[in-house]
Symmetry: C2
């Protein structure tokens, strides 16, 4: 006998994203998710195959959000590649701060089973690739993009995990990094 659905995959993913930001990844239990979407834990397995798979879906969802935001920023900017790089970096930082757990899931997944979908992860770094090409030239585009992505990913994960424990101005360090990377990578074009 068919029954009307009481929840959906989208609702499960949305609830999971709220839960991880509020209670951490360890707080994402099947019972907690079930409570958020109005269903008992075992029913979740009609829509996901395992908790790890759910985490991967959450990471993919977050990566798609991030990709859309960065594309929007890239389209909205009018300045040269240095200005665009700065705006992309700030948009990435804003995302990392508003969704720190989801950000960590995208860039430092704890295991293969929890990793975001390949194409979503790629889409999230695509805008950076485009700016890197403008900044460093066709030849060095990939190398430059990896350098910027590495710096940004490292800076933000150190900021989020509070690894900048020595005193000093973290905002200033972010600006310093952008400015000096822009200089170095522009230079590599010539």
């Amino acid at each position: 006998m068919p029954t009307p659905d009481r929840t959906s995959l989208a609702a499960i993913i949305a609830a999971s994203r709220e839960i991880i930001e509020e209670h951490g990844l360890a707080g994402l239990t099947m019972a907690e998710v079930g409570e958020h979407v109005g269903v008992r834990a075992p029913s979740l397995y009609k829509r996901i195959s395992s908790r790890d798979a759910l985490v991967a879906l959450v990471a993919t969802d977050a990566a798609n959000d991030l990709a859309a935001r960065l594309r929007g920023v890239l389209n909205a900017t009018t300045g040269g590649p240095v200005a665009q790089l700065s705006q992309l970096a700030h948009a990435l930082r804003a995302f990392a701060r508003s969704s720190p757990i989801a950000y960590a899931l995208i860039f430092t997944p704890a295991s293969d089973a929890m990793r975001a979908d390949r194409s979503a992860a790629k889409a999230a770094t695509e805008p950076l690739m485009l700016v890197s090409r403008d900044l460093a030239g066709e030849q060095n585009a990939l190398l430059a993009a990896r350098t910027i992505a590495s710096w940004a990913s490292g800076f933000l994960s150190m900021e989020l995990t509070d690894n900048f424990r020595f005193d000093g101005d973290v905002d200033a360090a972010f600006e310093f990094g952008i400015a000096h990377l822009a200089i170095a990578l522009s230079a590599s074009a010539g």
Copy 2:
């Protein structure tokens, strides 16, 4: 009635480091640790207060190892600051590859309770601070060190978690990053 000790904190930490690199952090169960050191799981609580605390001790132990290695490299190098930076970066990469899980515990801890001791984490980045001072000058030392540390940490965590999925030479990207950071940060001295 006193009994001779059958294990030690050092043995528990050493066994834990082996286990995480072989079976991942999730494979670090109290029963598994107990089996490695010849004791039942409940006995471990005579020496550690919780699993999270054990993970923190493991992270601290790894950070101390890393600090010692980097100090050794710094003392052994004879070239200028650019050469020293390159050697430190390669030593860090070697450590990350030989102990990927421990490396991740140091730089991207999953929670506060599992974080390495403050002074050990600081010691692990100290050699980098010294080279940054030589490279970028007293004034920019902290900013330069954070830029380099961010890049290195991000590059290695992306390499370890296989986030460089698009094709290309990862070794070349590492050299490119070192070279261009060295250029940019030397320039900031003048």
